[in-house]
Symmetry: C2
Subunit: 200 residues, 2 copies
């Protein structure tokens, strides 16, 4: 099987959420696997000197509008959260801890976190809520709570985030396949064309 | 006939150029006209506090790559200019002066300026080159030169640019139709879906 699609996303990113609802099916159609990598845009923006689009005059207002319309365009359910964005470090740390033990469970957890935020408007910035979500997908609560406090788990996330930056990741969603980078939910069409044609 | 599509673009914008090669056909398919409006991102970025993507670490490198790949994806000829970006105030001023007299000629001029820059790599920041391009599409050289020096022509551009900002335009290309805004060459698909469905 050809190489996996690396899928980088922040749990607070609406375009990342939209992509998360489509990327697995897109990949399967072209016999690729998807390797999910949560990142933290807050850290990345600080390192690259970026300003969140929502904070730019005119662009901010448009972006909020575009996020909602993009969800409709891509037929993804979205109830835009009243509190936006969220700092999603806990979810990201928990994800990698899970991934090392059970990648399929980590994937279910990630999808549930995204839907919890963008459909059910739960506070995914809260450690308690992340623990609840973990419990809902069958993760042992005590083990998860302990992991979140452990230094190796904290370091693991930091290493992953730094590695993403080293690979050029500066936004969410960001895909890399066959060393080809694609930024944005709107670039899934380019990505699909790439997979279909073997490069263009 | 339903309302026109307002098409805002900077002559130095690669994504604006890509859009310019497709927007007329897209509009015609849905029985709409296109009203072309050159703007200056330099002025708009200053007012909205934006930084050009090319100047952002990681994003800059990716953007250059994405511009070229987007041109291939949209099947638009592109020889990326060695000198980029350009300050295209002269072309924009000339366009509006022409538009008041002969909109079809202004349209030909605009397309030729875009191709001169993104295909033939001519220096569209130079007044001499803009005068040459004007002559090539049959514009009277002396009248054009005089117009470029006149205060009403300078004011006309400023008014157009300010009006664009007042309508929320913060990037290139930017489309407004039926009061619905679309930013980016990649949003032409949303725009087309909008025209097809009457809103979604």
């Amino acid at each position: 099987m050809a190489g996996a699609i690396d899928f980088y996303f922040d749990f607070t990113s609406p375009y990342g959420y939209i992509a998360s609802e489509h990327i697995d099916a897109l990949a399967a159609k072209h016999r690729r696997q998807v390797d999910w990598h949560p990142i933290l845009l807050g850290f990345i923006f600080k390192q690259t000197g970026q300003v969140a689009p929502m904070q730019v005059p005119l662009k901010g207002e448009y972006s909020l509008y575009d996020m909602k319309r993009s969800a409709r365009y891509h037929q993804v359910a979205l109830n835009f959260p009243a509190e936006f964005p969220k700092m999603t470090l806990t979810a990201a740390r928990g994800f990698y801890w899970l991934k090392d033990q059970d990648p399929a469970l980590a994937h279910s957890f990630a999808q549930r976190v995204y839907r919890a935020y963008f459909v059910d408007n739960r506070d995914v910035g809260s450690t308690d809520v992340i623990m609840e979500i973990a419990a809902e997908v069958g993760i042992d609560r005590a083990a998860f709570a302990a992991a979140l406090q452990s230094d190796p788990v904290k370091d693991r996330f930091k290493t992953e985030n730094d590695r993403a930056i080293a690979r050029g990741v500066f936004g969410s969603p960001y895909f890399i396949v066959d060393n080809e980078p694609f930024w944005g939910a709107d670039r899934m069409m380019h990505l699909e064309h790439w997979l279909k044609t073997g490069g263009f």
